[in-house]
Structures are given as C-alpha cells and as structure tokens.
C-alpha cells in the first residue's frame, strides 16, 4: 500500500496531507509500505457497508508508522505481516 513521505524532512504518514505535519513543506510524495508488525488486533461481528460481515482489523506498526488493515487470519500481537490492498482497502497476511 502507499503512504506519504515528505521529500524535505523524510517524515512519513498514512493520511494524505497537502503540507507535511512536521516541517510544513508541500513536497509530498507517495511511497510503498509493504510490511509491519501487529500491535493489536480486534475481531468485528458488526461491520460497515460495503465490507464483509466478519473480519479482524490489525493495528500495525510499520517502522514507526501506525496503520490499520483487514485480515481473515488469526493473527496475534507481534506477528510480522505483509500489507497489500484489495477492492476495499488495505489487507494483511502473516509472513
């Protein structure tokens, strides 16, 4: 999946911004983020449209960047995961 990187100060952040939250530069580029470690995991049985009826969401630390991704696997804290995207958004799988 893609995240933002500031070309001026190298800050990386998930939610797209016009200006860097650290140095306020507008020189923002998109970079690939491919893996991370599970910080916390929550399984849901009441999910929003248009998502499936059951899944878990992992909170992931990817070199200091925190992000969320769906998974159908039984992950636990500390698991290393690969991050890709499906038609809805980010998903992760144990690696």
């Amino acid at each position: 999946m893609k995240i933002s990187r500031c070309r001026n100060c190298d800050a990386k952040f998930l939610v797209g911004r016009v200006f860097c939250p650290s140095c306020k530069s507008d020189a923002i580029e998109m970079i690939d983020l491919l893996e991370g470690k599970v910080i916390e995991i929550v399984s849901l049985v009441a999910t929003p449209e248009p998502f499936p009826d059951n899944y878990s969401i992992a909170m992931i630390d990817a070199n200091g960047i925190v992000l969320f991704a769906r998974t159908d696997e039984s992950l636990k804290k500390g698991d290393s995961v690969g991050i890709t995207e499906d038609e809805f958004g980010p998903i992760c799988n144990k690696i």
């Binding site: 998930l14 049985v45 899944y55 992000l67």
Partner: protein
C-alpha cells in the same frame, strides 16, 4: 454569562415520528411559554442529509414552530454537535448578538439496517483509515484492549460502567432503555467488537431535546432558576488515528476540561455531577481520567468501587449516559446539558444528586477529534 432557564425532552428510542416532528415536540413546551422572547435558534444536528433526506433543517424547524423570521443556524460536529451548539449559543449571548436562544438538538437514525448506519457514522474517519474496515465500535475495542493491557485493569471494570448507566437509565423517563442489567448480563451479551459487548455500546436512537438559554441578568423574567454556564473549553485533536501517540488518552478531552475549569474558576473536585460521552463503556473511564476526576490509569478502580454511581464520590452519567439513555447524535450534547440543568435545579427526580451545585459535561466529536467541556453552576 448565559444560563439554561428551561429544558424539554422527547423520549429517546425508536420513534415513529419524523425528524422535524421530534424537534418540534421537544421545543413546543418552551415555545408555548416564551415564543415572543426567543431571538435566535441554534439547531444541533449532524446527519439529517444522510438519514432523513433533509438539508437546511434549522429553517424548516423554525417555520414549523411559527418562528419563521427568528434567525437560526445548524451546528454539525458529529457526536460533538451538541457541545459545539451550546458553545455557539453561549457566545451569541455573551457577545450581545442574541438574548434568548432556543437550542434544539435532534436526530433520527433508526429505520436503516445496522450495517448502513455503521457506514454512515464511519464516514467521519479519514479515508485511508476507513478503508481498512474500521467502524466507531471497533475503535472502542482497540481502546479497551489498550487500556486493559496498559493499566492491568480487570475486564469487569469496563462492564460495570454499563451496569451503572443502565441503572441510571432505569430512573430516567426519557431514556431509551429503562431496565437494569447485571454484570453477568453484560459479560454474557453478544460481542460486537472483541472484547466489547452489545450492552456496552450506545444504541441507534431517535430523539430531541430543547433548551432555553438567556442572559443571567434576565433569568428572573423566565424560570427564576437555572444552570449558569460559567466556563467552556473547546479543543481539537488530529483526526488521523494513526497519528495519535496514545489510545488511552484523549488529548482534546484533557485540554477542553482544563480550559473549562479554569474559565469557570473551580477545581474538578468542586463538581457534584458529570455527564461524559460514553458511546462505549471504556470511553467513560478514559474521559473520567482525562477530565481530571481520577488519575490516569485509576478510573477503572473508581468504576469498580462505585465511586461514580449516584450517591458516590462523583456521580457520572446520572441520565443513563449515551449507553442507556440513547445516542441520537445531534441531541446527545444538548441532553447532557439538560440533565445537568435538572440536577442543579433539583428537578432530576429519582436520579437527583444531593446538594448538587456545580455540574460538568463533556461532548466529544468523532473518536476524540474534538471536545467541548462545560462547567455549570446552579443559580436562582
């Protein structure tokens, strides 16, 4: 200084009436008495477009109340709309731009499948986080897991909030749920987002509440007693969850509470009764810490000890909270103020806190995106 001089509720719950009728049902008792005095209307509502196919709701309501030419605005700040609307009304009065403000909080959310409602509410999240399938209930679950792990709290402490708030709701004639639940009921109820269960989440609700706010010097022309707004605090935090340093502290709650108390000239220990934003049970514990009632990591002990029940050290959510009273989103922050008004004027019935003099409310938007804290003093 502005004072809440009157309050009027509809019953919260699944209602047959439409949004405009609910708003007017709550406002009518006040308009009946004070129509000629009202010179501004502030409507707190967040989702009339998404749920009800209505825009410009403030003007539609003012006309139905035959207050066609009274200036009106709508305030939308998701779950924090009510606190924001109260801050706007207070500012209008304090600046002299208006004298007697009718504040109406209203929302109608039932009638759609839960999956659709969950989507509508999740629209307040940033797309990069929403696309992971997050819902507001799931954020509560992340928060609960972090809290239990960080502070070694027993799971039952969080469930006790639901037990207390359902008890309080059973004493509130306007609450959606008016029956008690036991700890066992809560712990055996259906999981919504692990580890939190259905009794620990607010329901989807319809309902409306109205207040009359007036300058303190003219209170004697109205009800003669009320809840004076002596301090407000408003604070915003990043809407990007991934950008927050902690899941167990809500910075906007901490800052808004500090500001409101400072402006009100009182300490948190002076507060007799508080209404917090318990969209889910764990939020009440974390907010009770961030507002300053308890030290960080100690709120769960207060919940276990019964310190926050009616008759305890600091009664919290005497109305039943969002958890039991219901959470018609635009109405909730106004309902908090209405509960404090009742408590400080000695009209809270079976929920009355003895000798209540200072009150506190915390209305929160998003999942900690912003918060309005308000400090009140009973006046007569």
């Amino acid at each position: 200084m502005s004072v809440i001089a009157d309050a009027s509720f509809t019953r919260f719950g699944k209602r047959e009436e439409g949004l405009l009728d609910l708003a007017c049902e709550s406002a009518s008792p006040i308009v009946n008495k004070f129509a000629d005095d009202i010179d501004f209307i502030v409507v707190s509502n967040s989702y009339s477009g998404e749920y009800n196919d209505i825009s410009g709701i403030n003007n539609l309501i003012s006309t139905k109340l035959s207050l066609d030419t009274v200036p009106s605005i709508r305030v939308d700040n998701t779950s924090g709309s009510g606190g924001s609307a109260l801050m706007v009304a207070d500012s209008l009065i304090r600046s002299g731009s208006a004298s007697n403000v009718l504040v109406i909080g209203a929302e109608k959310m039932t009638g759609y499948p839960t999956k659709r409602s969950t989507r509508i509410i999740a629209s307040l999240l940033q797309p990069e986080e929403r696309n992971a399938g997050l819902s507001l209930p799931s954020l509560g679950a992340f928060m609960a897991r972090s809290y239990l792990s960080e502070f070694h709290a027993p799971r039952e402490a969080i469930a006790k909030i639901a037990v207390k708030n359902h008890h309080n709701g059973s004493l509130n004639p306007f609450a959606q749920f008016q029956s008690e639940v036991s700890l066992e009921d809560v712990m055996n109820s259906r999981v919504i987002a692990d580890p939190l269960r259905i009794y620990e989440y607010c329901p989807i609700s319809d309902g409306a509440v109205s207040l009359l706010m007036v300058p303190e010097e003219s209170l004697h022309s109205f009800s003669g007693k009320g809840a004076s707004i002596i301090g407000t605090g408003y604070s915003s935090a990043t809407s990007s969850l991934s950008f927050r340093k902690s899941l167990t502290t809500l910075d906007c709650v901490r800052k808004a509470s500090e500001t409101a108390l400072k402006r009100g000239g009182i300490g948190i220990s002076d507060v007799s009764v508080a209404e917090l934003h318990d969209m889910t049970s764990v939020l009440e514990i974390i907010e009770s810490e961030d507002a300053g009632f308890f030290r960080k990591g100690e709120g769960w002990r207060a919940a276990m000890n019964g310190d926050t029940q009616i008759g305890g050290q600091i009664p919290i959510n005497t109305s039943g909270g969002l958890n039991s009273k219901g959470h018609p989103i635009g109405a909730s922050g106004i309902a908090q103020a209405a509960e404090i008004y009742q408590q400080l004027t000695g009209t809270a019935g079976k929920r009355q806190v003895e000798d209540a003099h200072y009150g506190f409310s915390l209305s929160m938007a998003g999942f900690g995106n912003s918060a309005t804290a308000i400090v009140y003093e009973g006046v007569a």
